[in-house]
Symmetry: C2
Subunit: 636 residues, 2 copies
């Protein structure tokens, strides 16, 4: 690894030097592309060496998710649409549980103002936000058929194919390896250069390709029948919050800081989506916009999280070719690695949330954007990335967007989006005011006064007033700290991280989901179809209904072990079995924990409250083992 | 009322007679339009006479909803868009509570399969469902400016204006009154006739208008970059369920009946939306599709609801000019008023849900569609209608859609959307099979065999096999019973029905929302800012957080009465006040019920569990009055 690390550091140093010297932007950009290429080589190597769940097999997981209808491609009977997925009963319940937990963890615990805004968004709003002009990918078209390809994907596929061809000469190989490493940083000219140089054609027809064309990723539509009210499906929920800023501030009685949140759909017209739920055209987002005084980004609850440790991959470490480091968020903010307390507070809370929903903390990191990756308006940005079989996936963006968005909407509408800040003590300011001399203007421009037009500004037409003024409040445009969650990506990552196989039995795969997230909390299995067991079954069922526990009855004929395996597969954490011993007074059942396959025996009358407490994670399995007698059973 | 009723009955009888005689469709349609006009006159009169909340004032309610940000027009700072609304913190919480209750009442209690499908829907899907061809309204355009008007609205506005003009002669008045009454049943020709006859022009420019043009109400868009993948935003969530039928049936282990449900957004490109949340372009729907054997629409839980009483306005009663009648659903199904048990079961459950969320049962009815209003494929349809200041509003459609949708998607895709029904006993059927004589065909059409084309079917080319076969299962296309909820309309109706004013104090208006629906469950008011009360306040707050009760602290300086009024206004049902007596050991607080303004005193240690039970409606205020000592306070 050492040579790879120092190769990165070399370019990190070079870029710093170029910046200090005030070198031309084009030189810096070139160097950044090379830096990224070196970082990618380092990261690929690290990924190869990283500890993985040895048993993980994506095909097996995908088969399970399809077979038990967690989610599947939309409109399959019509041939399907890439990048669109339908969630079935299992996926839908699991996603709803994740969102309920999000709402509790963020909106309720932090007292946020939740809103639910329109998906349809008029063009001027997205013009102001920058999406109409900049939210685009490069594509190339088959000059004859018009078929479209995402330019970077086309280059990647072509390059990989040539590299795999044993007849390819070594210099072409080196050149293409270099292209692959740098591809992420390429602009349209860089890509056009590669396409020309290697003479890439349409992979379908072999025809020539156009130059890369920018394709806007928003779905366009028209509101109303006239055809001239252009709109888009929102690419993010954030803009809905920004345009409601005044109402929300007023709702909060004019006080800063406050946070607003929104859970809803976003849309992105990907050119050629792939990678399952990782890159889709329609997705659920959870976004928080925390509005704060730009000169005071402290957070009142920061001390509660300051000891919380995170894996941080800072821009500095990336430039130096170093790995992520585990640091407490308190230290990171103190040392200026993370820009401010509010951003740091959210990073810690995001981390806690991801762990709660079932992300393996060892496969999670916060990666800081390099200054050139960052949106031009942001001052600091840390992506919560999760390691999956697709590599490191950005799942939660945490950005300090400064006051960019509110200012843009102000510029577009001329509606002030500011807050009043009460000063600790009144401030005296010098005011210079131009006072028009109305009578002089009137007599000089009498006839023109209502027409407008230019006037010659001579001295006698105005006077200049200079005076001191005492002010008690100051008008400020708040900064915005934004944690933005891609729910589908987190959902998929949780499934990957919880997919396991039983030791010594490769065929028995299961999902070790946290109880709060599991789509169904409990299974109910009669050991036989003997009707003697029916009253007990009914009593258990009544308990589960009373405590509002979602459960699945499996009274099919299969062996108990086979039935357990079927429930384990869909992540049901707890299983209740009614057996022949159940009939002894007082009625009892066994309770099984899927993760460990351990069982205890407890009274039917206790079952509802015990499973309810387990399902909501108020107690854990260890508590159960300490309370109830263990029950041994052979599952095979 | 009597003459109005008999006027309706006259046409009801006439239509029945025409149908019996097999009169031409055009005559029947004419008669139906006249019938509807008469029904409308009857209904308008009934509406005038109906008992209303004398105090209701829509302007006052709308002012409250805007001021406290329940919801408001989207993108107002950009001038706003008609028919698009953003829900603020209060509306969002209330809507989320309604949806949570819906999920519990239907999905959990009935064991439905919830799905979450794509909003973006390819054109062929909506072509098959009939939406591409038939989901349209008539509009007219200004021939010069192209400005569009919904034809029926334009006629209505013109007619009303002319009717209000004292100079209008009596015969014109009569003619236009007749037009208004019949307008709902008009087709494009009828409307064109009125526009020509009365020489209606564009209300904006006075220019001529085009003939009525069908405007499809779906929002169009394009998926991917090529421009040839046409799609629409779904106009209903139902189609997502139908195209997943096979997966859902498999998930249910092949068994009928089962119900699937979906909660999500629908879109409708209204030509000129108005009436606030009643007619919008983007809305939340909750839809259930219950798949059932077409020959056995019994429901296993029907006996649990059969005594439940509903206000039914049957087609018969409508034709006879009669009002709605209160009937038990058991009787209604038995007498064939409601087509079958499953439809009846859902109507009862829908009624229970609407009452739970806060709809006044006296202002609710189920109106059966007349046979000509019904979608051509439905066999029975009952709209749950709610009486608001806009008149009777359709809020939940309950339709037996038969097997139309599944058959349409089968026709379009050739994918079988059927279920296997196990026969009680095997059935012997006669099979007639055509068996091609391959060798004869081969020798005759040898050279053409792969080309296709026509052949002369002569006897020697095939044989006919007739035999008996024993079958154990039968393939059936399930019928679909669909309750479909417009959440925004119910949301608005609940607000109207819960808007009250205090007796003797017109200015004190409040929302009497059911605790389960209220956006915030509890207020917390210290009687003074004296810091002695802080520890008690903190103890109460800890209890509320522990029990996950949403609350609003109001420690502002206003009088206690003024602060109560502010919390009453947003429908907070319970209020906790920390007063000076609170400090006596053991600490106590007062608990106030907004609806009655009654108060009791209870220990701080009891507050969490008591309010939690009240908020989830496990106990009611009467239980509280029986348990705790009453506390008298003057609120002014």
């Amino acid at each position: 690894m050492a040579p790879l690390r120092s190769a990165v550091k070399e370019y990190g140093d070079l870029i710093r030097e170029l910046k200090e010297k005030g070198a031309p932007k084009v030189d810096i950009d070139r160097a950044v592309i090379e830096l990224k290429a070196r970082k990618k080589r380092l990261e690929d190597r690290e990924f190869e060496l990283a500890p993985k769940e040895a048993s993980f097999d994506r095909i097996k997981l995908e088969d399970l998710l399809k077979r038990r209808f967690f989610y599947d491609q939309s409109f399959s009977i019509y041939g399907g649409v890439n990048g669109l997925y339908d969630y079935g009963p299992m996926g839908c319940a699991m996603k709803a549980n994740m969102i309920a937990l999000w709402r509790k963890h963020f909106i309720l615990e932090e007292g946020m103002l939740e809103v639910d805004c329109s998906v349809l968004t008029p063009e001027p709003v997205l013009k102001a936000s920058g999406h109409v002009d900049r939210f685009a990918d490069w594509m190339v078209k088959d000059v004859k058929t018009g078929e479209c390809f995402r330019a970077d994907h086309l280059i990647k596929n072509h390059a990989e194919k040539i590299l795999q061809d044993p007849k390819t000469d070594i210099s072409t190989k080196n050149a293409l390896t270099d292209v692959l490493a740098k591809l992420e940083g390429f602009d349209n000219n860089d890509m056009q250069e590669v396409i020309s140089k290697f003479n890439f054609k349409s992979p379908v027809t072999g025809n020539d390709l156009t130059e890369p064309i920018a394709f806007n990723l928003m779905f366009p539509t028209l509101i109303g029948p006239t055809g001239d009210f252009k709109a888009y499906l929102r690419p993010e929920t954030a803009q809905g919050i920004f345009v409601n800023f005044k109402r929300l501030l007023e709702f909060n009685q004019g006080k800063l800081p406050f946070a607003a949140a929104q859970i809803g759909s976003g849309f992105r017209n990907e050119i050629s989506p792939r990678q399952g739920l990782i890159r889709v055209r329609e997705f659920t987002m959870c976004e928080i916009e925390h509005f704060v005084d730009p000169n005071d980004k402290k957070h009142s609850k920061f001390s509660k999280v300051s000891d919380h440790k995170l894996n941080l991959l800072s821009a500095c470490n990336q430039l130096a070719g170093k790995s992520a480091e585990t640091v407490s968020i308190g230290k990171a903010v103190k040392e200026g690695i993370v820009a401010n307390e509010t951003l740091g507070y959210y990073m810690a809370r995001v981390h806690m949330f991801l762990v709660k929903v079932g992300i393996d903390p060892r496969r999670m990191r916060f990666r800081q954007h390099l200054s050139n990756e960052m949106a031009h308006y942001a001052c600091d940005c840390w992506d919560a990335e999760i390691l999956t079989s697709y590599g490191w996936i950005e799942c939660v963006g945490n950005a300090d967007r400064a006051c960019y968005d509110l200012q843009q909407h102000f510029r577009a509408t001329n509606v002030k989006l500011t807050a009043e800040k009460r000063l600790d003590e009144p401030k005296t300011i010098n005011v210079t005011e131009i006072v028009p001399n109305k009578s002089a203007i009137g007599s000089k421009y009498k006839s023109d006064s209502k027409k407008g037009g230019e006037i010659d500004l001579t001295k006698e037409l105005f006077s200049v007033k200079r005076y001191e003024k005492k002010i008690h409040v100051e008008e400020i445009t708040p900064s915005v700290i934004e944690p933005s969650f891609g729910i589908g990506r987190i959902f998929y990552s949780v499934l990957e991280h919880s997919f396991r196989q039983r030791e010594g039995d490769e065929q028995r795969r299961f999902l070790a989901l946290p109880p709060m997230i599991a789509p169904i909390k409990c299974s109910l299995l009669p050991i036989s179809s003997n009707s003697e067991l029916d009253p007990i079954l009914e009593a258990v069922r009544d308990q589960l209904v009373e405590y509002e526990i979602s459960f699945k009855l499996d009274d099919s004929a299969g062996s108990i072990g086979r039935r357990y395996a079927r429930t384990d597969e869909i992540g049901i954490p707890f299983g209740i079995t009614v057996d022949f011993k159940s009939q002894e007074q007082p009625w009892t059942v066994t309770l099984r924990y899927a993760l460990t396959m351990e069982q205890v025996r407890l009274k039917v009358s206790e079952v509802g409250s015990v499973v309810s407490n387990l399902a909501s994670e108020r107690i854990n399995w260890q508590n159960i083992l300490e309370t109830f007698p263990k029950f041994e059973q052979n599952e095979s």
